[in-house]
Symmetry: C2
Subunit: 604 residues, 2 copies
């Protein structure tokens, strides 16, 4: 088990050099100076490296236990969560109006990546709380905001998302949990039903847990439009909602019936919650009746970005493990041309291929995820409407890519990390295997990666006729031209230009076939996954092209920092060894949908 | 947890139609009729489905325990292993001269795949015994063969391979275990040292365990040539070796010091064995002193084929799980063009892509592995020397591909299997996650997949100047032409021809750069992994091209068996949706080795 060191230098490179601290120039971030950002990154790294990371392996080995309805967290988790709350970390990305520190999303995302790299299971707790904050901030009543937001933003209370039921997963229209009004117009309901896969659904790290629950009101129509969003606290506020000071009242009628035995994230309790085993769990309508799914999706976009970032955190840790092992494990001899002496496995070019593949992909995913976070900052804070709208349009397209592509790649990177360790990688004590087990959930939750691909190739592209993605491809091509103008980087430019052309061609094909009134929906389904993979490769390659330009410029300006040489190698690998594999997805799309349309699983 | 059904129909298709039962026509297999083969497959399927498969999940959950030096296997494992021995399964592929049934390797391989699909952890026990049989058959003295082979072939004794030590993994020249002669010329030694990662190194399923151990004799030269192979029984034969009747004597000085806590294959005890904690473990030299590594590599080739087959068994089970779940899980609605009704997820084209990708790859890997087994039969049994040599040359090239490509793909297939299950896939009780955990070892052991790639791109290709692979590519092109001649299959032929051309071009490049006296070894290392992946994709696509031709012919001849339609879909997907991704490896190779040669892991 190697120690974790949050990659502060990498974050600074992306924030300062790739993104040129653009977020700090936006209205509302006047107090966030580059020095402050640097201090925040250093401080978050300390919490990650010294408090959260050391509990990652022990939390996995110990897991959670359910005893008489109470979840016992792994040793040290409560203290580590409290250290996070006391450090004020829970509110760093939340606006000052809601009681947060109001730092830019790029900074908050960097901090999230560190914390997930340190301890993904623990990182899930604040990730879910952030979703609850978002939902309440957008759709809660003033009273709800006043009562719940301060504590959620602080982190002394945590939040959960209650969507899934046994028969309702990707298809939430099947939700059956019932919400019965207590009295007309009171806004109070009694909820009855069972929710599964509730992350951090029960624990004692916080004083109270605020469950956001999808449920059906009586006589509501079938399907999506019958579903509303409710707030169900674990402990009820005393007496009445209005004017309450937030001190805790009695236990609500919601209990943790069981926790799951999962492949990974053992330190994160995944609960089955039972609502209304007695009189019904008291819940409060959030937003409009019948608009529960819409309200839930408000925060879904950002939650999806966070899951992508989480994948990158685990990928980073897998890189660090693999590099540390490869640099210390002596095995074999170097070739005659390089001395024929005993060597570490990092000297074998086949191992270097694995290491560089892990590093290049992680660098690329991080740059893209933070680019997306910077666009989120622009979308929220830019002075001009047009600028905000353009950024929001890019965010809409980028988020499914960041979520799905980062997490699919994280699984592959973690698996490669095991391979670098050889036999030791298969032994749990080494720690490499846990990273694969943990990473494997990320392509599944917050909307499976298949759902992300449909969101991109269906809703997002069809809505604006591909305009936002086309404008991103224009930027890809501009970067390719800038690379082509540099003698040392011309071959990277060639590769990137080819990728951009592939993505443009595939986009045209998907738009055309997706618009077919009869076969459109099937075409979108058929092409969605290879299309998202192609977009992910090309957009990541774009960021690595920009990385190469910045690193080259720094070296040409006289820097002797080996960091820039390393980034040039990483970019070369990403553009010339990794992108070609992704480009193959154009051919996959052009192969058509006939074999999928004709496919009958029952005869295979 | 879905039941397992060994894919007998698929085996029959490959053996009867793709391979046209060629092995049965070889000298020595006169008694093996098609009817007998069919009966063997049916009987093996019964053992797999009814006895071994039901213990897969419980064996994983329970795992092995070490108590006072004894390994306690999961419940039912001893009985399941005995049922296998009593059914005579251990000797089916062993020649009659050694006491086996002498069935062709293609049949034995099919049976192995079923058993590994049913229960990979249990399947490892006979897999290791087969290695010991092979080593003794080739290098043991007549006395050793007489004493040990009958029981090993029967399976009442099992065998192990003791290679790895903490400092000696892929690099066995670092082995330090010592073997001290008891007296001059006696052939008896006392062994001292520790071996790790010994699969089924200790257990009570067999009366005795025969350890084959690499160790160094006194005054032996450093490096590979100082290593010899020794046979160390758990229980010594009474008194003298010659004339012994095999009844058990006293316990040898070898103990299981610990067992590993692994990511998967929990039902397979992975032992640290301590030799000579007291007077030294009695061992007998096998073959020539100083030739231990060569003797070990005799059997390595076949063991590697078996690991590839094992990967395919797990992939098959992952397919079956995913198909069963997708056919029963109702979620979402079909598009308007297909009725807009409630549907199972197998109706969504994005899910179909996952299912067909899993099925097509598994079909392709199986066909290639069994083609390789058939070539093994020819190499051993054909009447003509030239025919035997040609087949052996193909086997040499195919085995690293079968081992590495099948196991890498098996990991991806098992991971896709989890994805098809959505959130349920992450819950251990579902069984999908175990398949990924189990599969993940196969790219590591019996020589990591990196070692396989080096074996292919280095030793195997450089030795014959690529002749054997060139002749395989000739066959690939012939199949492409046959496809091109069929109106319905012409586009498959085009795709296959392009793949063949890519592989030929990459082969020329690797041969040229690999021959460079200075940079050759690094070039081989740099290109090995993408080259093996390219070869795997093209050779698998070739087999699926042959599958398409056979299936098309059967349908054209009037068959209405949906099996053939399914195989056509599988072939279409393999050639037009899967092969393009593999073909990208040509571009990866052509990108050169500069970034890997310049790479310094310490600055990344």
């Amino acid at each position: 088990m190697f120690p974790f060191a949050a990659p502060v230098r990498d974050f600074r490179f992306v924030l300062e050099e790739l993104l040129e601290h653009g977020s700090l120039a936006l209205p509302g971030f006047e107090e966030a100076s580059p020095d402050l950002v640097e201090a925040v990154l250093e401080e978050a790294a300390r919490l990650s490296n010294e408090v959260w990371a050391p509990l990652n392996a022990s939390g996995d080995a110990q897991g959670c236990q359910l005893k008489e309805g109470c979840v016992q967290l792994p040793d040290g988790f409560i203290e580590a969560y409290r250290a996070y709350v006391e450090g004020g970390w829970n509110g760093i990305g939340v606006s000052e109006a809601l009681g947060g520190q109001g730092l830019p999303e790029v900074v908050a995302s960097a901090v999230q990546e560190m914390l997930h790299g340190a301890n993904m299971a623990l990182g899930l707790c604040p990730m879910l709380t952030a979703g609850a904050i978002e939902a309440l901030a957008h759709h809660g009543s003033d009273e709800q905001k006043a009562l719940y937001l301060p504590r959620l933003v602080e982190g002394s209370w945590t939040g959960t998302m209650n969507l899934t039921e046994p028969q309702a997963g990707s298809d939430l229209s099947r939700v059956r949990t019932r919400a019965v009004p207590c009295s007309a117009e009171s806004g109070r309901y009694r909820l009855f039903g069972q929710k599964i896969f509730i992350t951090w659904g029960e624990h004692a790290a916080a004083e109270n847990i605020i469950h956001l629950v999808l449920a059906r009101t009586p006589d509501a129509p079938e399907g999506n439009r019958g579903i509303s969003l409710f707030l169900v606290p674990k402990y009820l506020e005393p007496e009445s909602l209005v004017g309450a000071d937030g001190s805790l009242g009695e236990r609500n009628d919601v209990v943790c019936a069981s926790i799951e035995h999962k492949l990974g994230i053992h330190g994160s309790p995944t609960c089955t919650l039972s609502f209304g085993e007695h009189d019904g769990a008291i819940g409060y309508l959030v937003g409009e009746e019948g608009r529960g799914l819409n309200h839930m999706f408000t925060m879904m976009n950002e939650a999806r970005h966070k899951v992508g970032v989480q994948g990158i955190g685990v990928a980073e840790r897998a890189c660090q493990h693999a590099f540390a092992y490869a640099l210390e494990r002596t095995q074999g001899r170097s070739p005659k041309a390089r001395g024929a002496g005993d060597c570490t496995i990092s000297d074998h070019l086949d191992v270097r291929r694995m290491l560089l593949s892990m590093r290049a992909r992680t660098d690329a995913l991080r740059a893209l995820a933070l680019y997306c976070a910077a666009q989120l900052d622009v979308a929220r804070h830019a002075a001009g409407d047009a600028e905000r709208r353009a950024a929001q349009a890019r965010v809409e397209v980028l988020i499914p890519v960041v979520k799905a592509f980062s997490t699919d790649q994280a699984v592959e990177i973690a698996s490669l990390g095991i391979q670098v360790h050889g036999g030791m990688g298969y032994i749990e004590e080494t720690g490499a295997a846990q990273l694969l087990r943990d990473a494997r959930i990320a392509p599944i939750y917050e909307g499976t990666n298949g759902i992300q691909a449909l969101d991109l190739a269906g809703r997002k592209l069809q809505r604006d006729g591909g305009a936002a993605l086309m404008s991103l491809i224009d930027d890809v091509e501009a970067t390719a031209q800038a690379l082509a103008a540099s003698p040392e980087l011309a071959c990277l430019g060639e590769s990137l230009a080819a990728g951009g052309a592939d993505l443009r061609a595939a986009l045209v094909l998907v738009l055309e076939q997706g618009a077919d009134p009869e076969f459109g929906p099937d075409a979108v389904q058929a092409y969605a996954t290879p299309f998202l993979a192609l977009a992910g490769h090309v957009l990541c390659a774009w960021q690595m092209g920009r990385t190469a330009l910045k690193a080259r410029a720094a070296l040409d300006a006289g820097s002797d920092d080996p960091f820039y040489t390393a980034k040039l190698q990483s970019a070369d690998f990403a553009l010339r060894h990794w992108l070609p594999v992704g480009r193959a997805n154009r051919a996959v799309i052009e192969a058509g949908m006939a074999s999928l349309a004709a496919f009958d699983a029952a005869v295979h």
